[in-house]
C-alpha cells in the first residue's frame, strides 16, 4: 500500500519567513531527485528517440493532499488525512507531455559531418578545405565532428598530458568551416583529438554536452591508443561521437577488437539527475578514427585491385568487415559502402603507397561507423569519402549523414503544457467532493412550547468521490447550532450517488424558552454544513414563536397586565402585578367551577385537548371554553412545572431540602424569596388550604397535595443531573413534601 495514502498530510506551519525554507527545500529536492532517478533510468537505458525534454514538472500525492488540506476552513477543519480518492501521481504532467510530444514537435533533417585523419605527428601545413568543405558535399553540415589521431607523438604529450599541439589544428579547422560555426567542445587524449562544431543558429539546441576518454595504449593506461568521446543532445536527439585510435599491425585483430570493447565499456557520462550513461545510451552513436584494421592480402594483389578500383572484392577481405560480420566487434554498427581507395599508407606528401622497406600493404585504417538505437530513426547516408590532403601517411576520411531530430515548437509546447495543467486542475476540482442539498431554508413555522417539530434536508453526493460532511460552528462559536435545535446526524459519510436525510428538530422546553419568552429573541439561525475538502453550505433556520406563559419566568409574567399575545410588558421599574394573572385566572376558574369539591383534584389527569385549549386561552386572554376541573388543575401544575426558574428557585433547592424537617428554617427560607415568588407561594398555599378544607368531598389529604405540589415548586436545576436523578428517591420526595406540608398545616392551624 502506498504509504503516502496512509499518512496524514498536514500543511506545514511555517512560522518564520523565507529563511526557514532552506532546510525543507533541501529535503524536497532530495526527494525529487530520487523520483527522477528512478523514473529516468528506464528511458535512458533504452536510449530512445523518444528521449525528450524532461520537464521539470510533476505532481505528488503529498502536494495534492497538502493542497486539499489547505482548503479546510477554521482550525478544526484541517482534514484528518483520511482523504484517499486523489490519484494523481508525480509524473502525471511529465507523462502527459510526453504522450503529446508529436503535437508540439516537428521533424527536422539535420546534417552531421564526421571527419577522421591520422596526421602522423605532422603540424598543419595545407588548408583543410578539400576535407571539410568538399564541394561534393550536397549540404552544408549542421554539425561538424572532426577527429585526429597521432596529432602529437611527443613524449610530453604522452607523459605530461600537454595538449598545446591541438591549437593550430583547431585554428586550421576554423579557417575552413567559416564563422557560421561555433565550437561545442573539444577533447584530447595525447594524439587523439575530437572537436565538435555546430552552426550558430542551433547552438541553443545543443544541451548536456559531456566528454570522456578511455585509454587502451601501453599497458592499457597511457593514452597513445584509446578513444575520446563527446556526447550532447541536439534538439531532442542524443548524439555520441567517439574518435579512437586502436592498436596497429596486421596480426593484432583480436587486440583491436578488445580495444574497441574496452573503450566502449570505459566511456561514461554523467547526465541529467546524476544518471550515468554509456555510449550506447544514445539515439545516434558515431565511431570514427584510425581503427587500424588491415587487408590480409599480398601487397601486390591489393595494389592491383586498387588500380582496377575493385574496391568491392577488396573490401570482402577487410578485417573490420570480417570482424563485424562475425559479430566479434562493433556489434550493431553500420558503415556506409566504401567506394574509395585505402587511405593508408602513403609516403607523406605524395600519392604513392608506402615505398619504404616495411612496404606496408594499403588498408582502410580510417573509418566512420554508426549505430542507431532501436528506438530512434536510422540516419541517412549522404557521403563517405576520402580527401586528398597529402601531408600525412593517411588520407583524411569523412562521412556525412542526415539525422532526423524532433524540434520543439515552443509556443505549441507551452500551449499544450497549459492544457495539461488545466486538465490537472479540472481533475483536482472534480476530485473535490460535491453534494446537492434539497433546501437551504428550513422554516419550522409556528413552534409551540415543548412540541417538537422536525424537518428534513436531503443531502446527495453528486461528486465523484466519497463525501464526508459535518456541521461546523460559525466563527467564534463553539456550538453547531442553537440549543433548541437538534441535528441528526450532524456528521456522516456518503459514497458517490448516495443520499442521506438529515433531520432537524426544533424543541423548546423550559431550559431554552427563556430566549423567546423573556429575551424576545427571534427563532433564526444559520447552520454551516461543511463538506470535507469541499464547499460549505449555509442553511437558514427559521420559525415563529408566540409568547406564552409556559416556559416563562414569574418575574417576567407579572409585567404583563394583558394577555402575553398582543400586550407589551410594563417597563421593569413600574409597578407590577403581585402574581401572574394567568395563575389567578386558573385558580379563580376552579373556584367558580366548583373545583374544590372535585374528587381527587390534582391527582386525576386532565383531557389533553382541553388542556391545549386552556393554554391557548391563557396566552391570548380569551375566556376558557367548557372544561373539566381535572384539566384546569393539570394546567396549573404544568404552568408551575414549566417556569424557567421554579417558585422556590433552583439556587435554594438544596437548602430547602436540608432544612425540610425544621419548620423554622423552611419559613425563613420562604421569607427570603423574591417578592413575586413569595406572593405566588403563599397564594398557592392559601389555595391548597382551601382545597383541603373540602377534603370530605375531594378526598384529598395534605400529604397528597404536598407531594404533587412539591415536585413542581421545589425542583432541582435540569443542568444538575445528579440532583435531578435523586429527586425521585423516596427520601427526597418525602423531604420535599415535608417542606410544603409545614406551610399547609401551619396555615390550617391559624
Amino acid at each position: 500500500m502506498d504509504s503516502t495514502d496512509n499518512n496524514n498530510i498536514v500543511p506545514p506551519v511555517i512560522t518564520t519567513t523565507s529563511t526557514s525554507t532552506t532546510s525543507t527545500t533541501t529535503t524536497a529536492t532530495t526527494a525529487a531527485a530520487t523520483t527522477a532517478t528512478t523514473n529516468a533510468a528506464p528511458s535512458t537505458v533504452s536510449s530512445g528517440g523518444a528521449t525528450n525534454d524532461q520537464e521539470d514538472v510533476g505532481v505528488s500525492n503529498a502536494s495534492v493532499n497538502e493542497s486539499l488540506a489547505g482548503l479546510s476552513h477554521h482550525k478544526q477543519g484541517i482534514p484528518d488525512g483520511s482523504y484517499r480518492s486523489v490519484d494523481v501521481n508525480g509524473q502525471w504532467i511529465a507523462n502527459k507531455l510526453k504522450e503529446r510530444e508529436h503535437l508540439y514537435t516537428e521533424k527536422k533533417n539535420m546534417t552531421i559531418f564526421l571527419g577522421t585523419w591520422n596526421v602522423n605527428g605532422k603540424k598543419p601545413q595545407e588548408p583543410l578545405d578539400p576535407w571539410l568543405c568538399d564541394p561534393a558535399m550536397p549540404l552544408q553540415p549542421d554539425i561538424y565532428a572532426i577527429g585526429f589521431q597521432e596529432l602529437d607523438l611527443t613524449a610530453e604529450a604522452l607523459l605530461l598530458g600537454d595538449t598545446t599541439r591541438s591549437l593550430p589544428w583547431e585554428q586550421k579547422i576554423l579557417e575552413s568551416i567559416s564563422n557560421e560555426y561555433v565550437k561545442i567542445m573539444s577533447r584530447q587524449l595525447v594524439g587523439i583529438l575530437l572537436c565538435v562544431y555546430v552552426k550558430k543558429e542551433h547552438r541553443q539546441h545543443i544541451t548536456m554536452e559531456r566528454s570522456d576518454i578511455a585509454t587502451v595504449g601501453i599497458m592499457g593506461m597511457m593514452g597513445n591508443k584509446g578513444g575520446v568521446a563527446i556526447r550532447f543532445k541536439f534538439y531532442n536527439t542524443s548524439i555520441c561521437i567517439l574518435n579512437s585510435h586502436l592498436n596497429a599491425h596486421l596480426e593484432n585483430i583480436l587486440r583491436r577488437n578488445q580495444d574497441m570493447k574496452d573503450i566502449a565499456k570505459n566511456i561514461k557520462f554523467v547526465v541529467e539527475d546524476n544518471n550515468i550513461i554509456t555510449m550506447f545510451d544514445h539515439d545516434q552513436l558515431f565511431w570514427i578514427g584510425d581503427l587500424n584494421y588491415r587487408i590480409p592480402l599480398p601487397d601486390a594483389e591489393v595494389k592491383e585491385k586498387i588500380k582496377k578500383k575493385d574496391f568491392y572484392s577488396l573490401f570482402l577481405h577487410d578485417q573490420l568487415y570480417q570482424q563485424m560480420k562475425s559479430g566479434a566487434a562493433f556489434e550493431g554498427f553500420q558503415e556506409p559502402p566504401i567506394s574509395f581507395a585505402p587511405t593508408y599508407k602513403y609516403d607523406a606528401g605524395t600519392d604513392v603507397y608506402d615505398s619504404s622497406e616495411k612496404k606496408r600493404t594499403p588498408a582502410w585504417c580510417d573509418r566512420v561507423l554508426w549505430k542507431t538505437s532501436k528506438t530512434a530513426e536510422n540516419v541517412g547516408i549522404l557521403t563517405y569519402r576520402r580527401h586528398e590532403l597529402l601531408s600525412s601517411d593517411h588520407r583524411p576520411v569523412s562521412g556525412s549523414f542526415i539525422i532526423k531530430v524532433r524540434a520543439v515548437i515552443p509556443e505549441v509546447k507551452n500551449r499544450i503544457y497549459q492544457e495539461i495543467v488545466k486538465e490537472l486542475d479540472k481533475k483536482e476540482n472534480d476530485s473535490m467532493p460535491d453534494a446537492t442539498i434539497s433546501t437551504n431554508l428550513i422554516d419550522f413555522e409556528s413552534v409551540k412550547f415543548m412540541v417538537p417539530v422536525t424537518r428534513t434536508i436531503v443531502l446527495e453526493n453528486v461528486g465523484q468521490v466519497i463525501a464526508r460532511f459535518k456541521f461546523i460552528p460559525k466563527l467564534n462559536e463553539k456550538i453547531l447550532c442553537k440549543p433548541w435545535l437538534k441535528i441528526s446526524p450532524f456528521a456522516g459519510i456518503m459514497l458517490p450517488k448516495e443520499k442521506i436525510t438529515i433531520e432537524l428538530t426544533v424543541y423548546v422546553d423550559s431550559t431554552t424558552s427563556y430566549a423567546f419568552n423573556v429575551a424576545n429573541e427571534t427563532m433564526d439561525d444559520i447552520l454551516i454544513l461543511h463538506l470535507e475538502n469541499g464547499k460549505d453550505y449555509f442553511i437558514s433556520i427559521m420559525g415563529s414563536w408566540k409568547p406564552t406563559c409556559f416556559g416563562n419566568t414569574l418575574e417576567n409574567l407579572v409585567r404583563y397586565q394583558g394577555p402575553l399575545v398582543g400586550t407589551q410588558p410594563m417597563p421593569v421599574e413600574q409597578k407590577k402585578l403581585s402574581i401572574p394573572k394567568e395563575l389567578w385566572r386558573m385558580v379563580d376558574s376552579l373556584y367558580s367551577n366548583n373545583g374544590m369539591a372535585e374528587e381527587n383534584l390534582f391527582i386525576v389527569s386532565g383531557v389533553s385537548k382541553e388542556i391545549e385549549q386552556i393554554k391557548e386561552c391563557l396566552d391570548t386572554g380569551t375566556p376558557f371554553p367548557a372544561f373539566s376541573n381535572h384539566s384546569m388543575a393539570e394546567v396549573i401544575i404544568r404552568f408551575l412545572e414549566a417556569l424557567c426558574d421554579p417558585v422556590i428557585p433552583f439556587t435554594l433547592y438544596q437548602q430547602a431540602l436540608d432544612g425540610s424537617s425544621a419548620v423554622l428554617s423552611c419559613k425563613t427560607l420562604v421569607s427570603h424569596l423574591p417578592s413575586v415568588n413569595y406572593n405566588v407561594f403563599f397564594y398557592l398555599i392559601s389555595f391548597l388550604t382551601e382545597v383541603l378544607s373540602h377534603h370530605d368531598q375531594n378526598s384529598l389529604s395534605a400529604d397528597k397535595l404536598a407531594i404533587v405540589f412539591s415536585t413542581v415548586l421545589l425542583r432541582p436545576s435540569p443542568t444538575n443531573s445528579a440532583l435531578v436523578q435523586q429527586s425521585t428517591d423516596a427520601t427526597i420526595v418525602k423531604k420535599k413534601a415535608d417542606f410544603i406540608k409545614h406551610f399547609i398545616h401551619s396555615h390550617n392551624n391559624i
Binding site: 496524514n8 511555517i14 525554507t21 510533476g58 502536494s63 486542475d425 476540482n429 454551516i528
Partner: protein, 206 residues
C-alpha cells in the same frame, strides 16, 4: 522533478449577490460561462495552477455567498486570504454602492498585505451600464485598490484580474512583506513534508 507549484495563494471573492462571483470563478477555473448557476448559498472552491514569473502558483479560490443575511457567516471565511476580489455589477449601481461595506469587511478581516482587487463585472452589458469606468476607477484609487472591468460571460479580463492579483501577492512575497504562514493565505507548495497525524484517522489501516 519538483512539485507542480511552489506556492498556494488563497483568494476570496466577495460582493453582492448576482454580480457574477460564481461565474468569474467558473470562467477562470474551467474557461466556461455557466449562465444559470444556482445561487451560492455557502462557500464554494475552485483551484487553478498559474504561472507567475515562471513560478507555478496554485490559486485556491473561495467563492462566497453574497446575500446580506449570510454576511456574518461569510465573514469567517476572510481569514487567511492573500487576495480578495471585490466584485460589483456595472449594470446595477446598488451593488457598487455596497462596495464600502464589503471593503470594510475585507480590510478588517484580512491582513494588511492582502491584495484587494476591485472588479466591475458584466462589462459585456455596456448598453445597460449604470456605473462609469471613471467613477469606479477613482473610487479604486482613493481606496488603494487595483481595478479592472471584466466579463465573466466573454472572459474578457478575467485571467488578468486573477493573474494580476497573483503577481502582486508574489511581489509581496519576494519583497519579504508576507510571512509564509497558512494564515497569511500563502503556503509554499514544496514545503510539504508528511508529518505524522495529530489525530489518527479512524479508518487508518496501517
Amino acid at each position: 522533478m519538483s512539485f507542480p507549484y511552489e506556492y498556494i495563494f488563497k483568494y476570496i471573492i466577495i460582493g453582492d449577490m448576482g454580480v457574477g462571483k460564481s461565474c468569474l470563478l467558473h470562467q477562470f477555473t474551467e474557461n466556461k460561462f455557466v449562465p444559470d448557476n444556482p445561487h451560492t448559498i455557502g462557500v464554494e472552491f475552485g483551484t487553478r495552477i498559474v504561472d507567475v514569473n515562471n513560478k507555478k502558483i496554485k490559486l485556491q479560490i473561495w467563492d462566497t455567498a453574497g446575500q446580506e443575511r449570510f454576511r456574518a457567516v461569510t465573514r469567517s471565511y476572510y481569514r487567511g486570504a492573500a487576495g480578495a476580489l471585490l466584485v460589483y455589477d456595472i449594470t446595477r449601481r446598488i451593488t457598487y454602492n455596497h462596495l464600502t461595506n464589503w471593503l470594510t469587511d475585507a480590510r478588517n478581516l484580512t491582513n494588511p498585505n492582502t491584495v484587494i482587487m476591485l472588479i466591475g463585472n458584466k462589462k459585456d452589458l455596456d448598453g445597460q451600464r449604470d456605473v462609469t469606468y471613471e467613477e469606479a476607477s477613482t473610487f479604486a484609487k482613493q481606496n488603494g485598490l487595483i481595478f479592472v472591468e471584466s466579463s465573466a460571460k466573454t472572459g474578457e479580463n478575467v485571467e488578468e484580474a486573477f493573474l494580476k492579483t497573483a503577481r502582486l501577492i508574489f511581489q509581496s512575497v519576494q519583497e519579504g512583506n508576507v510571512d509564509l504562514i497558512p494564515d497569511g493565505g500563502i503556503t509554499k507548495g514544496n514545503n510539504v513534508l508528511p508529518t505524522p497525524p495529530a489525530e489518527q484517522p479512524k479508518n487508518c489501516q496501517c
